[in-house]
Assembly symmetry: C2
Homo-oligomer: 191 residues x 2
């Protein structure tokens, strides 16, 4: 069940990891139903998750008790609270599936062992995080540059399938809209 | 002149790079005066910069011609448009010094050679980008969670020296304030 990750590694950095038995011993294959939690805000975070199939959202609880979604992860993305993961600390985010989801999960402890045994994996993680950080630079630019409606247009243009796939109330939360406002501008752009 | 980077590498991932002569051949030591450009929006980006001494800000030009600062980098941070750097593409950001600044600069081509010759450097970059991405997760949370005034309070609390060091009009731009508004709340918190 490790294949999707091996394929992703080869795609990102042209490394063939052949030691699949070894590899298997570091990762755990987990299956979650829709709306199950991978991580709960306020608990310790020891793991990070590679999405094989499905979708998750990352959110935090506002003081008024509403959930604020700040990110999504689909197939071939890694999800975690990386601050907490790297230090074994308390997470400031929850992660929950938005559909039935399969992941490969690795603990910080197992990752350290993996990196010692297969150091080439550092090239993979270097490039994965560089890409994620580059995406976050562009995202911050968009947050400063665009109105809410323009943000939605960009999102629709850059990730058309995704916009259909995630629950609309979560997309509204992510974009900082009320669900009613999102529904209004959806009608405008889809008509 | 490579020492500050070697010290940072040892601090981040406990690796001692002894091959300093080799190392020197990949990096270029550059000195910039205050307000000089390291990178100009719209040009190709082939390099990334390790700040030895000084400070830079990353910004883009709004349609109305004003500069929007979205990030700063001080000593021991890496700065670039990482999307453009990784693909040799056109940068969507400018980088300019806010004080006299010394950097170590490496081209994408030299980085590829470096990683082949000293593959341990991938562990360093893996951890550096993980840290940068983790910081951007928290930053996005703050952008959703806090009012402008609360953002300033957090910034003042988390980075007190920094708040004194960068020009106030750039800090205002970064925080999404007018300079007048920043001056008003500065008076309030510093009195």
């Amino acid at each position: 069940m490790i294949n999707p990750l091996l394929i992703h590694i080869e795609k990102i950095c042209s490394i063939k990891i052949n030691e699949t038995d070894l590899f298997d011993s570091f990762f755990e294959h987990k299956i979650y139903k829709k709306k199950e939690f991978l991580l709960i805000e306020g608990q310790q975070c020891f793991e990070k998750f590679f999405i094989i199939k499905g979708c998750v959202h990352l959110f935090f609880l506002r003081e008024n008790g509403t959930e604020q979604t700040i990110d999504f992860a689909l197939e071939n993305w890694w999800a975690s609270d990386f601050n907490a993961f790297s230090g074994g600390g308390i997470t400031q985010f929850s992660i929950r599936t938005t559909e039935n989801t399969e992941v490969l999960c690795i603990s910080a402890e197992n990752q350290n062992k993996l990196l010692r045994q297969i150091p080439e994996m550092n090239l993979y993680f270097h490039l994965v995080f560089q890409r994620a950080y580059a995406a976050s630079q562009m995202r911050v630019r968009y947050l400063y540059e665009y109105s809410k409606e323009e943000l939605y247009q960009h999102f629709l243009f850059d990730f058309p399938e995704f916009t259909q796939r995630v629950p609309q109330y979560l997309l509204a939360s992510f974009l900082g809209f009320t669900p009613e406002y999102l529904s209004e501008i959806r009608k405008k752009y889809l008509s």
